[in-house]
Symmetry: C2
Subunit: 570 residues, 2 copies
């Protein structure tokens, strides 16, 4: 094994050719904030020299004046939101220059517990993409829902011993932490000295101090620059997020200054496959930030060095001898579009196309659809005014609206698509409990039919938004029959599907195929009147009772601010 280092030393001293030599690059030095002309010599998976005029390599890449930056690092992502298995996810993000992700397998953990996480670890072993993980902190996310599994502190400690598990993932139960809940505090204490990610939208003042005092060190839920400034002043790393359904980057970016820039990183959190493929991964955030006026060198530092330092990834985040050869070549600092991506010393993408990849995921996941079906999803009418979830496009937070039903009194509180008031149901799908949570949602614009999804943060029961109660049941049952997935039904029949048979969350197919399926389903939804750009992403967050203000679980309607169930009829 010292042979590799010995060879690295000889190559660096010019005594042997490198395995790979990148010649004539403009090296983006995120450590000193400079760009300088240099060649980059690589041996195995490591950089061994960065200097002008290096000797030959067995393989040569002519950079021809292109910039070369360290591979991008996604500071916080749920791979499950890509709807594809980790190897397929890698195929989507590597062409965009993301060579390392710090992922939280929170979704599959809610469905399959430790078995699900172990499967994600197995499915991400040995990929060209470095998949690092955080141990999911909150499974289930709250006591107000039925998840597929529960993770105890002992489970988390067992996971913590895995070499690719860095720390504790987002501690979403900030009310529990602030209330001194011993279970949550024990989890934090177990990860003392390791990174503990936070999740505290709008938590400021004394509550923020308390949340930090408990051991949390980062946050990716800032909604405003002022919130980010306070969190950074409190000692937090703030991850600037641009997710499919939570676009906060431009709102928060003004908080970044040259003096505090070291305290920020980028994350995608949740991105659907089509967006990953076409808009991008961390490269998209780099472009947005630079477009908004952030110094390109700082933007690239937020994408590389900062998350590496935050997570203690000493072997990456900069272009320097001894670090991993994770490199991104591109032409234009004002419009960073990777034309060549190297991970672990190998070319893994060229001109936006993956080189290699396409590996199938391992087997071994149990089926996860176990629903005690009812005959109907109709809701008994119990008044004339309902508390409805007010969906805000591209945000995870919702409003809580009180809406007067327009229809004449009846036995059933039917959807009122004319008033953009859809019926929302959450059907428990893990333990055959027969639980169905019932409510209303505004903001979809759907005029007919129903959308169903087995992706429904965080417990991933089946969530259905419907302009028609009959189509609701058809869509939900079709989703279950796929082993999980997304379904559009209308007029009594299934109109579009995205099969996600792995845990009801993922497909083991090329991301483009899944993106195309999703695009077709979205197009059908649009034909039915839906006006959201990503209706299934929006749908999937309506069951998440840890983000304000009103959500629906299989237990019923949740007033998140009060962290308690509430009634549909006011």
């Amino acid at each position: 094994m010292t042979d590799v280092i010995a060879r690295a030393v000889r190559v660096a001293r010019g005594q042997e050719p490198a395995d790979l030599l990148i010649r004539g690059a403009r090296v983006v030095d995120v450590l000193t904030q400079q760009i300088r002309p240099a060649d980059v010599a690589i041996v195995g998976d490591r950089i061994v020299a960065v200097a002008p005029g290096l000797a030959d390599g067995r393989e040569m890449i002519e950079a021809a004046g292109r910039y070369v930056a360290p591979g991008f690092i996604d500071a916080h992502v749920h791979i499950e939101s890509s709807m594809v298995a980790p190897g397929r996810f890698a195929d989507a993000v590597l062409p965009h220059g993301t060579t390392t992700v710090v992922s939280d397998p929170h979704e599959i953990a809610n469905v399959l517990g430790v078995d699900g996480i172990r499967w994600m670890l197995a499915a991400s072993e040995g990929l060209d993409l470095s998949v690092l993980m955080m141990a999911p902190a909150c499974v289930p996310a709250s006591p107000l829902e039925t998840a597929g599994a529960r993770l105890e502190s002992s489970d988390l400690m067992a996971l913590a011993a895995h070499p690719r598990v860095l720390g504790l993932a987002e501690m979403m139960n900030y009310p529990g932490v602030l209330a001194g809940d011993a279970v949550e505090l024990a989890k934090l204490m177990s990860f003392s000295g390791r990174p503990i990610d936070g999740h505290a939208p709008g938590v400021l003042g004394a509550d923020l101090q308390a949340y930090l005092a408990a051991g949390v060190v980062s946050d990716h839920e800032c909604l405003t620059a002022a919130e980010a400034r306070e969190k950074v002043a409190g000692g937090m790393m703030v991850f600037l997020r641009e997710a499919t359904n939570a676009r906060n980057l431009l709102d928060v970016l003004p908080a970044v200054t040259p003096e505090n820039a070291g305290r920020f990183a980028f994350c995608t959190d949740d991105r659907v496959p089509g967006e990953l493929l076409d808009d991008g991964s961390i490269d998209a955030l780099v472009r947005i930030a630079i477009g908004a006026g952030l110094d390109p060198l700082l933007a690239l530092t937020l994408a590389t060095r900062n998350p590496a330092e935050h997570y203690g990834l000493r072997d990456r985040g900069a272009i320097a001898p001894g670090r991993r050869a994770d490199l991104v070549l591109f032409e234009d600092l004002a419009d960073v579009r990777p034309s060549l991506v190297i991970a672990g010393g190998r070319v893994v993408a060229r001109d936006g196309e993956r080189v290699g990849g396409g590996e199938a995921a391992p087997g071994g996941l149990a089926p996860t659809m176990d629903v005690a079906w009812r005959d109907s999803l109709q809701l008994r009418r119990d008044g004339d005014r309902v508390r409805a979830i007010g969906l805000i496009e591209d945000q995870l937070i919702t409003t809580s609206e009180v809406v007067a039903l327009k229809s004449a009194p009846a036995d059933v509180a039917a959807p009122e698509p004319g008033a953009d008031l859809l019926r929302l149901s959450v059907i428990e799908r893990h333990h055959h409990t027969g639980n169905v949570g019932q409510g209303f949602v505004t903001g979809f614009g759907l005029r007919a039919g129903a959308l169903a999804s087995s992706v429904a943060h965080d417990s991933h029961n089946i969530v259905v938004a419907a302009a028609d109660d009959g189509d609701a049941l058809i869509a939900a049952r079709a989703a279950a029959e796929l082993g999980g997935g997304l379904v559009v039904a209308a007029g009594g029949e299934v109109r579009a599907t995205v099969a996600l048979p792995l845990a009801g969350l993922l497909a083991d197919r090329p991301p483009r195929e899944v993106a195309d399926d999703l695009a077709r389903a979205e197009a059908v939804a649009a034909e039915l009147g839906c006006r959201l750009g990503a209706p299934f992403m929006a749908l999937s967050f309506l069951a998440l009772p840890v983000i304000p203000s009103l959500k629906l679980t299989d237990h019923g309607l949740v007033d998140v601010d009060a962290f308690a169930l509430t009634d549909v009829f006011v």
Copy 2:
């Protein structure tokens, strides 16, 4: 144990008084480079809130507008150079605001091996000062000397498991690394993913790239700003050093810019006890840097956050909830002199005086003086010109001079104090080998007598610089009879001593007593004509064959550039 966190949360939320509240401070926020008015609430050893207008504490400190900065961190220090045991060293540095040291027990390791390191760990356990350690990489420092012990890779790995051992200490054998020496590369590989400190004075260009490629990540041996710039551009952390015998700070400081400042930290490396007490520890470097024009906020960042981040010390380096309550209060940004020092939530020094301390060191160290004495230290004359070590005050490097002897040919090559040409001897003291290395040195100015020391980097044999061969033997024997120490002899008798009976390196006495003894010995040396400010420190580095250009070990004269023995007579 979650009780402590629960209480931290309650205090942060204002529901309970803090254990200690610092009120009305100007908080130095090294994360955002701002100074802002705030109170600091402490529970146990942790900061739990930093905000204006906090509620009461059980104990209150009125900052009254003083600045409060994070406790200083010494990025690289050999505690042994203080000549006192770790607890006594803490008494010296805590009043100067240094609350954490990353120490390399390299000296005691060269005398007593793993037993010596284990003793240092025991002697630094539970101190108010956080004593972290690096595993000594090069024991012995070279094959060209006889050390008391040898550390193998297996010893290092055993040490690496200790919770206070962070990584591998300075890899001084850079020639070995560059030559691909499998033993040295194996040590580097064993610490892959952990901090590996470097030691590469003047190593630049392809050799620097190779040294970095092998896994080294820091250096504290830069002599010039240009050298530091190249090392930082190569990805190194550069520790700016101001040691008693190596004052490089002002030469290297111009390399620090706001853009690259994150890549620098401060270290003292080797400071004698009097300098620690009177000039200071890291605070002295902060004052020098600010005096030379470095932005005070950046200077304080180099003293706190940067070394914390470099070593992965997540729990310190900034004033923020959840971090250790290691705090330094001072009045003036232009002249940082700690007036109150808090470590782990307790006041440990006030107005330059230690509060508490004075703990005795544990026993258990074996005696270490085992010399096979010769009748005389005279050197047989074998020519008219000698290769003499040219001492450079305040530098570890020496020149190699060829000097024509002035005296008439004779059997013995005697010292020629009139020409400032002293005789230098190194007497093996660990294994009764009888080895004596013989040579000459210029630059002391000693006109009569001899200086002997059992502190002699790195093997810590007895080194003697003499204007008289008879006094040389008297001084050396006296040092051995003390169990180790420093001696001045002249006119056939012992004139001054500093007893260092612990491994021949340390005393378990208050640092002031040892400093006074040393000052007396230095005064006697000065009376004898010595013109060096710290003659024993200078003497102690003349046997270190890993720093250019000419050194003397018990094996003989070493041409460091050639890494080989050479002849005294040219």
